[in-house]
């Protein structure tokens, strides 16, 4: 896969400052995505923020290497950022602009970048999981040493495709990893309203994978667990990691979460991995000014993404008919052209 972006978490494995910085970037980016929506600049009505889940994205990505591939669910901005995405091109894609990763055709839920190994975000719950089995199969056959990681939410734990995929990965000893970011809610349904089997990793173990659950409050713990699971997968034992966290806000931007009460939200938002990492850094002797500077850098970087998206062009209408099939294949005839042609027969 393409050149490594200096913003990737790789190399910051042992560095809580680096992990904190990445988590702050993710959170600030998501806050700006919310702002994009509020200001009416977002093309998508479907914006799913990962605030509260930053340790999952940053911790797992810190255990991945260049050349590894991955798919994400619909709440995957943080993961892509942590794998080195350019936040300006991300924001432009979310706004449906030509300068975005997919030239405005994909948006938040279908963002992808082959150069960074991102095989695609997915708007179908569980839809991106089996592609990881295929990518891992190719990595195994070609002996590339890469792993492929599927990121999904707790909602996907009740989708059959996950079990078909984990079963195949185990059966064939594939370098595949399944990461469940358990933010406790599939839309408005809490995990214990969706299943009695809430010890999620036990399901993976039953299929012959390595399986762990880790508290997402501590990014170091997440990274360490991810490192164990990812390293074993690279060696041919696929694994599963559930990361417990809390979705701070609604399912999507318009969701005011009427299905959960204020006390629960307040309690849940105390499990803040960004604040926890910051407190740990202060405890370890870092001064507030240093951390404030990290925060300010994230703000400056992410503020610029809004401006970039705002001033970027819409994709040309002619691009509508492009990329249905490969370049060089005939494009579909526009409806109006066909109607005119048919009616012009006299």
């Amino acid at each position: 896969m393409g050149e490594r972006d200096p913003k990737t978490t790789e190399g910051s494995n042992t560095d809580l400052v680096g992990l904190y910085s990445q988590m702050r970037r993710v959170r600030t980016f998501e806050e700006r995505v919310g702002e994009l929506f509020v200001r009416g600049l977002s093309a998508g009505s479907m914006l799913h923020l990962s605030i509260g889940e930053e340790s999952a994205a940053v911790g797992v990505c810190a255990a991945m290497k260049d050349g590894d591939t991955f798919t994400t669910h619909h709440r995957g901005h943080g993961i892509f950022l942590a794998r080195g995405a350019d936040p300006e091109r991300m924001m432009a894609e979310i706004a449906g602009k030509q300068t975005g990763y997919c030239h405005g055709k994909g948006g938040s839920m279908h963002i992808a970048d082959m150069g960074l190994g991102h095989l695609g975000a997915n708007a179908i719950v569980g839809g991106g999981i089996p592609a990881v089995v295929g990518a891992a199969l190719v990595a195994q056959q070609r002996k590339t040493g890469a792993v492929s990681v599927a990121f999904f939410g707790d909602g996907a734990m009740q989708q059959g495709i996950l079990y078909e995929s984990m079963n195949m990965a185990a059966l064939w000893n594939l370098p595949a990893v399944f990461v469940c970011i358990n933010n406790q809610y599939g839309m408005g349904t809490r995990i214990d309203q969706a299943t009695r089997a809430t010890a999620l990793h036990e399901r993976a173990i039953a299929f012959g994978l390595n399986g762990e659950t880790v508290d997402g409050l501590d990014v170091i713990a997440v990274r360490d667990a991810a490192q164990r699971i990812v390293d074993a997968a690279r060696g041919g034992t696929p694994g599963f990691l559930a990361i417990d966290c809390y979705r701070f806000f609604g399912h999507a931007r318009k969701d005011k979460s009427p299905y959960r009460d204020a006390d629960e939200e307040e309690e849940g938002r105390r499990k803040d991995p960004v604040a926890f990492a910051r407190a740990a850094l202060v405890e370890a002797g870092h001064d507030e000014a240093e951390l404030d500077a990290i925060d300010a850098a994230a703000v400056a970087e992410m503020d610029a993404t809004i401006d970039f998206a705002d001033r970027s062009e819409e994709p040309p209408l002619s691009s509508m008919f492009r990329d249905v099939f490969a370049v060089g294949e005939p494009e579909p005839e526009p409806l109006a052209d066909r109607i005119d042609r048919v009616l012009a027969r006299d």
Partner: protein, 324 residues
């Protein structure tokens, strides 16, 4: 020239493609040790090994999804679905993933996979093993759709499908596997996406594909004895759809029957009828007549099964009514 069955032509196509391109591999239920439910891959595992004839658990969605990922990662998988009836299990991976990935991702990458499967009636296999579901596929932008009706096409269309940059659904007909024809595979095939005129006649155009090509040709022979000459067009691929060949045949004749084994309503015949009516309106003497499957599930009863899809007799009888 040599005698060859449809089944062996498909096997030879896989064999030759796998010999030429080490990125081609087959993945599906019973494709390796068993040799395929209809014997298409029988023996290939001996030459190419279990990694390239990859037997899977009974997990159709993950079979197709794995092929999607492997295609994105640079290989050229041939995923096999034992029956097209199982495609419902895989619709997310096929229609939401494979079909849309190039477009959603702004042209970054394609999904060069082939989904091989078989459908249709003729074996008294019942409502869940006998359907003709090509309309489901044809309705989805981003998927190619191939339905070979001859031994020669079974070979060459599969070879061509395995060179496409986009996902191809390749639907064989279960009643054709044992069909043997004289073929010279060294004759270069028509360009990808071209229909073939199987028979020329001045009174009527029959547009069809897959097994119904044979019913149409049998009907045409019967009609010829009664002084009616029919043109029979074998579409071969439904996406791409070669409308120019249809147009050139229809315009001078002005009478058209479209024949499809799939159910009538909103089916392939309906689409063809609409296209012909729009595009060739001034040349038509009569409405385009659809001869298709009845709008019923397929029964296991041999009599009901046969009566619920077009036959050569039905095609001939319909032609006589059109020309009366």
């Amino acid at each position: 020239m040599a005698q060859m069955t449809y089944r062996d032509a498909l096997k030879k196509a896989l064999h030759d493609a796998m010999s030429e391109d080490e990125d081609v591999f087959v993945i599906g239920e019973e494709v390796g040790r068993y040799g395929g439910a209809y014997g298409v891959t029988k023996g290939l595992i001996d030459e190419f090994g279990p990694e390239r004839l990859r037997d899977t658990p009974i997990s159709e969605p993950a079979i197709v999804g794995t092929a999607v990922g492997a295609a994105m990662a640079g290989m050229r998988p041939v995923a096999e679905l034992m029956y097209v009836d199982f495609i419902g299990m895989t619709m997310d991976q096929l229609c939401n993933q494979a079909a849309k990935i190039r477009y959603m991702f702004g042209g970054q990458i394609g999904v060069p996979m082939v989904l091989r499967t078989q459908g249709g009636t003729g074996r008294s296999a019942g409502a869940q093993h006998s359907q003709s579901l090509e309309a489901w596929v044809m309705h989805t932008p981003g998927l190619r759709l191939v339905m070979p009706g001859t031994v020669y096409d079974a070979y060459h269309l599969l070879r061509q499908a395995l060179r496409q940059p986009d996902p191809v659904v390749f639907i064989e007909h279960k009643a054709l596997y044992a069909m043997s024809e004289e073929v010279d595979l060294d004759v270069p095939p028509p360009d990808w996406g071209k229909a073939v005129v199987r028979r020329s006649g001045a009174d009527l155009v029959i547009v069809t594909y897959s097994r119904q090509v044979h019913h149409a040709l049998q009907a045409a022979e019967a009609l010829a004895g009664q002084g009616v000459e029919a043109t029979v067009i074998d579409l071969r691929t439904l996406n791409p759809l070669d409308f120019e060949t249809i147009r050139q045949a229809v315009e001078p004749i002005g009478r058209v029957m479209v024949v499809s084994e799939g159910p009538l309503t909103a089916g392939v015949a309906a689409e063809l009828s609409a296209r012909i009516t729009e595009e060739c309106f001034d040349f038509l003497h009569d409405p385009v007549i659809r001869v298709a499957g009845e709008d019923v599930p397929i029964s296991v009863s041999v009599a009901l099964e046969a009566a619920s899809v077009p036959s050569a007799d039905l095609v001939a009888e319909t032609a006589r009514k059109m020309l009366a």
